[in-house]
């Protein structure tokens, strides 16, 4: 289907929450979805609200497939029951959790099967024990999250979730290196088969071809820019896809402006890795207000941590960086870049965790 089909399904950008959560009649074909949902954007925003804010966490059982995988850089959760349990635990740690949606960029790759990319600033007071961040710090902060969901007949059948855990740790007053080392030490204990996804994923990213947007798709120049940068190290050429007015926010509080800034981000990520391979797994685009276009890319990098850089002395381990990026395009060039990857998971691998 065309990237801008169903124009009646609006981006949430620029629309108040009161409007977004007002019930409305169905305005998109959603076979098998509950009548309460008017379109795929509404499905994502409303079910997030119902589960996380209305605290009807048991709705996970009617919104997640029984055996679905939730892929995160820190591990894989399996099935609606595990997702339900994890959500209860998470809300007990951050009782006032407020997942504030910034955008939902989606595609309908086959009729009735949607892939959504939901960018969120998730706020909550860390008042309970959290599986990753540890004991309560009492601090209320936000963390940027992007969740990609493959949805069919009201069920999420695959999910990929990335969170800027490193900056979140900093905001909570937690030393991110100490946090990563603690989890890496735990990773090295027990049944190593639980890291099977990471081991297999590093191989998959390195040895299999990803997807390529067609030339007339808005995501095409963006995807090509990342490939040109990471596979060919032609960072200047990659930068031609970027407006001189670009603003980019990457994990760890990285906030840059201008083409030189964007190139700096990409080079920093590439610099510590040797024999890098870039793989694009999904792309989507949707119209935004004022004629701009939102593009979502889900992508991964593998490379040997063989050079000293932002991640310190080389560990010689094969690393997986799993990322989702949201872009705003104007005139065919990137004018905003919001990229999320879990750098705690990267450092965890460097420290010998996650099967690395």
């Amino acid at each position: 289907m065309s990237w801008n089909a169903d124009p009646q399904v609006l981006s949430p950008v620029g629309r108040p929450i009161e409007e977004l959560l007002t019930r409305r009649a169905r305005r998109q074909s959603l076979p098998g979805f509950e009548p309460v949902y008017s379109d795929i954007v509404d499905y994502i925003l409303r079910c997030t609200h119902r589960i996380w804010e209305e605290k009807n966490i048991g709705l996970c059982r009617t919104h997640y497939a029984a055996d679905m995988p939730m892929f995160t850089p820190g591990g894989v959760a399996r099935g609606a029951e595990e997702v339900t349990r994890a959500t209860v635990t998470s809300i007990s740690a951050y009782a006032d959790r407020s997942p504030i949606g910034e955008d939902v960029i989606w595609s309908e790759d086959t009729p009735g099967t949607f892939l959504s990319s939901h960018r969120i600033m998730s706020f909550g007071a860390h008042l309970g024990a959290d599986a990753l961040m540890g004991p309560a710090t009492g601090v209320r902060r936000g963390v940027r999250v992007i969740a990609d969901c493959l949805c069919r007949e009201n069920l999420i059948i695959d999910e990929w979730l990335v969170r800027d855990n490193l900056q979140f740790a900093r905001e909570l007053g937690i030393n991110p290196l100490a946090l990563a080392r603690r989890h890496a030490a735990a990773d090295r204990e027990g049944d190593q088969a639980r890291h099977g996804w990471h081991v297999a994923e590093r191989v998959r990213v390195r040895e299999t071809a990803g997807v390529t947007p067609p030339a007339d798709h808005p995501a095409a120049p963006v995807a090509e820019a990342l490939r040109t940068a990471f596979d060919d190290q032609l960072f200047g050429d990659a930068g031609t896809a970027v407006s001189p007015s670009v603003e980019a926010q990457w994990p760890g509080g990285r906030h840059v402006f201008g083409r030189g800034g964007w190139i700096g981000l990409v080079i920093q990520l590439a610099a510590g890795l040797v024999d890098t391979r870039f793989r694009l797994d999904h792309y989507a685009a949707r119209p935004l207000p004022h004629g701009d276009i939102a593009v979502a890319l889900r992508w991964s990098l593998v490379g040997r941590h063989g050079v000293a850089g932002v991640w310190g002395a080389p560990s010689e381990r094969e690393l997986l960086v799993f990322a989702i990026s949201h872009y705003r395009l104007r005139g065919g060039r990137i004018i905003e870049d919001c990229t999320v990857f879990d750098e705690i998971a990267v450092v965890r691998q460097i420290e010998g965790g996650l099967g690395a």
Binding site: G252, G253, H255, G264, V310, G331
Partner: protein, 235 residues
């Protein structure tokens, strides 16, 4: 109320105007970042701005307002808007919110990408509401800063390079929000916002609070430093 009226009221700390501010509006100002209506309203209650609606530059996408803060020091407010809703705010002024700096990972940046020196880009397609006269005036101003680097605006920041983030024209005036970046002797890249009003009396407002907060921010250059404790010395 017009969106200009709502912005002026919100910037005075009037929370009844907050309904026009989106639930996910990011407010950058006073050396801090606030998210949403309540946090944004709290910033302006603490540090209200007195803005002049007569100076407003309004387009379909942006609003720029100029005035003073509670100390009488020049201030400015830039907003991204859509259908009367306020999506994003930048408040430029001198007062600093005492939020405390948070570590951020430092990114090495080449500000010029060319030893022939940087040029100040005003790309029409990026700023469709900017008229040609406004664009030319901004181009001259930005290039003058690159070439002359007036110390009264930039202070100790060396090799300053402005980047145009928002620009629009309206009512015979043009307004621009720029991010000025420079290489400091000890802190790497420093940046601060500058608001420019072209036409009438003309104004330049520097986000002094943002500049101070940026220089105070601890920049982490290595996430696994040799000292082993993740402190990651700043440049």
């Amino acid at each position: 109320m017009t969106v200009v009226d709502r912005l002026c009221a919100f910037a005075r700390g009037d929370v009844t105007a907050a309904r026009a501010v989106l639930h996910n509006c990011r407010t950058a100002g006073f050396g801090a970042t606030a998210y949403g209506r309540e946090e944004g309203a709290a910033l302006f209650r603490a540090m209200p701005l007195d803005l002049n609606p007569g100076d407003a530059v309004v387009s379909d996408e942006t609003v720029a307002l100029f005035g003073n803060d509670a100390d009488g020091i020049p201030a400015a407010l830039f907003a991204d808007v859509h259908d009367g809703q306020i999506m994003r705010l930048w408040a430029l002024g001198s007062r600093q919110h005492d939020a405390g700096p948070v570590d951020a990972t430092h990114v090495p940046v080449d500000l010029d990408l060319d030893q022939r020196g940087g040029a100040f880009d005003v790309v029409a397609v990026d700023h469709p509401a900017l008229d040609p006269n406004g664009a030319e005036a901004l181009r001259r101003l930005g290039q003058d800063w690159i070439d002359g680097q007036p110390r009264d605006i930039f202070g100790p920041v060396g090799r300053a390079r402005p980047i145009l983030l928002r620009a629009a024209s309206g009512g015979g005036r043009s307004a621009a929000l720029m991010m000025v970046q420079g290489l400091t002797p000890t802190k790497g890249v420093a940046r601060f916002a500058v608001g420019v009003l072209i036409g009438d009396a003309g104004k330049i407002v520097v986000d002094a609070a943002g500049r101070a907060a940026g220089l105070a921010c601890r920049r982490v250059v290595e996430l696994r430093p040799a000292d082993g404790n993740g402190a990651g010395a700043a440049p």
